[in-house]
C-alpha cells in the first residue's frame, strides 16, 4: 500500500470527491440560471459542465468525460462567450425581475421535478440479463464505424449544414449591416 492509502481510506476519499463534484455541479447550474449578468451565467455553466465531466468519470467513461470538456467547455461555452458581446453593456442598470414570471417558472420546475422523482421511485429498474464490460475507446471507435456508421455520417452532415447555415445567416450578403 502506498502511504496515502494507509492514511485515508480510498473508498471514503472517493465518496468525498463525489460529494465535492456534485456540489460543484449544482452550484454551477444555479449560477448559470439565477444571476442576470450573462457573464456569470457562462462561468457558472463552465463550472457545471466540468462537474458533469467528473460525474462521467465516476460512471466509468474517461473518454466521454474528455469529450465533455473538449466539446462543451472548450467549444460551446467559448462560442457563447463570443456572443456575449451582444449582451447589454454591463455597467447599465439591469431591468427589474418580473416576479410572477419567476414564481411561475419555479412552480412549473417543481412540478416537473416531482413527476420525475415519482417516476424514478416507482419504476422497478431491471438490469439487462447479459451485460458486457468492454469500456475501451477502441470498441467505441469500432462501433462508430460499423454499426452506427449511418448515424455517424448523418451527424457529420448535420454539423456541416449547421456550419454553412450559421455562415449564411450571419453574413450580410456583401453589404454592411444597417
Amino acid at each position: 500500500m502506498t502511504p496515502l492509502q494507509e492514511l485515508v481510506d480510498p473508498g471514503l476519499l472517493a465518496q468525498a470527491a463525489f460529494a465535492v463534484i456534485v456540489v460543484f455541479t449544482f452550484t454551477g447550474a444555479l449560477i448559470a440560471v439565477l444571476p442576470r449578468n450573462i457573464l456569470y451565467n457562462v462561468l457558472g455553466l463552465i463550472l457545471c459542465l466540468t462537474g458533469i465531466a467528473g460525474l462521467f468519470l465516476y460512471l466509468g467513461s474517461p473518454f466521454i468525460a474528455l469529450m465533455e470538456l473538449l466539446i462543451y467547455v472548450g467549444a460551446i461555452c467559448i462560442s457563447i462567450v463570443f456572443a456575449i458581446m451582444l449582451s447589454r453593456p454591463l455597467h447599465l442598470s439591469l431591468p427589474k425581475r418580473h416576479l410572477p414570471k419567476v414564481l411561475g417558472a419555479g412552480a412549473v420546475a417543481l412540478a416537473v421535478f416531482g413527476v420525475l422523482a415519482i417516476i424514478i421511485f416507482r419504476t422497478p429498474w431491471h438490469a439487462a440479463f447479459v451485460r458486457g464490460n468492454d469500456w475501451s475507446i477502441t470498441s467505441i471507435g469500432a462501433y462508430m464505424l460499423t454499426r452506427y456508421s449511418l448515424v455517424f455520417e448523418v451527424m457529420s452532415v448535420v454539423l456541416l449544414v449547421a456550419i454553412l447555415g450559421a455562415i449564411l445567416i450571419t453574413s450580410t450578403g456583401g453589404r454592411r449591416a444597417p
Binding site: 466539446i71 456572443a83 417558472a105 458486457g132 462508430m144 447555415g165
Partner: protein, 102 residues
C-alpha cells in the same frame, strides 16, 4: 455514489434547473445556456443507464457523443440566429422579437 437512483436524481435536478432558467430568462443567450443544462441532464441519464442497466457499455457512450455533436450544431445555429436578430432589433431580449417578417 454507486447507485442508479443518485445519478437519476442529479440528472433530473439538472434538467429541472434548465427548465426553470428557460422559463424565467428573457435574454436569448440565457435561454440557450438553460437548454445546454437540460441537454446535459439528458446525457447524464443516458450514461447512468448505460453504467448500471445497459447490455453493452459502448451504446450509451455513443449516444452521449451524438447528443454532444447535435448540441454543438444547435449552439452554432442558435448563436448565428441571435446575431442576425441583434442586427435587426439591436437587442437580444426575447420580448422585443415580435415580428416574423424578414
Amino acid at each position: 455514489m454507486n447507485s442508479l437512483g443518485t445519478y437519476l436524481f442529479i440528472a433530473a435536478a439538472l434538467f429541472v434547473i434548465g427548465v426553470f432558467g428557460l422559463l424565467q430568462r428573457r435574454s436569448l443567450i440565457g435561454m440557450l445556456i438553460a437548454i445546454e443544462l437540460m441537454l446535459n441532464g439528458a446525457s447524464l441519464n443516458f450514461m447512468a443507464f448505460n453504467r448500471f442497466l445497459g447490455p453493452d457499455p459502448v451504446i450509451g457512450q455513443v449516444y452521449t457523443l451524438f447528443i454532444m455533436g447535435f448540441a454543438a450544431a444547435e449552439t452554432a445555429i442558435a448563436l448565428s440566429i441571435i446575431i442576425a436578430l441583434f442586427r435587426r432589433i439591436r437587442s437580444i431580449n426575447i420580448e422585443q422579437a415580435r415580428e416574423l417578417r424578414g
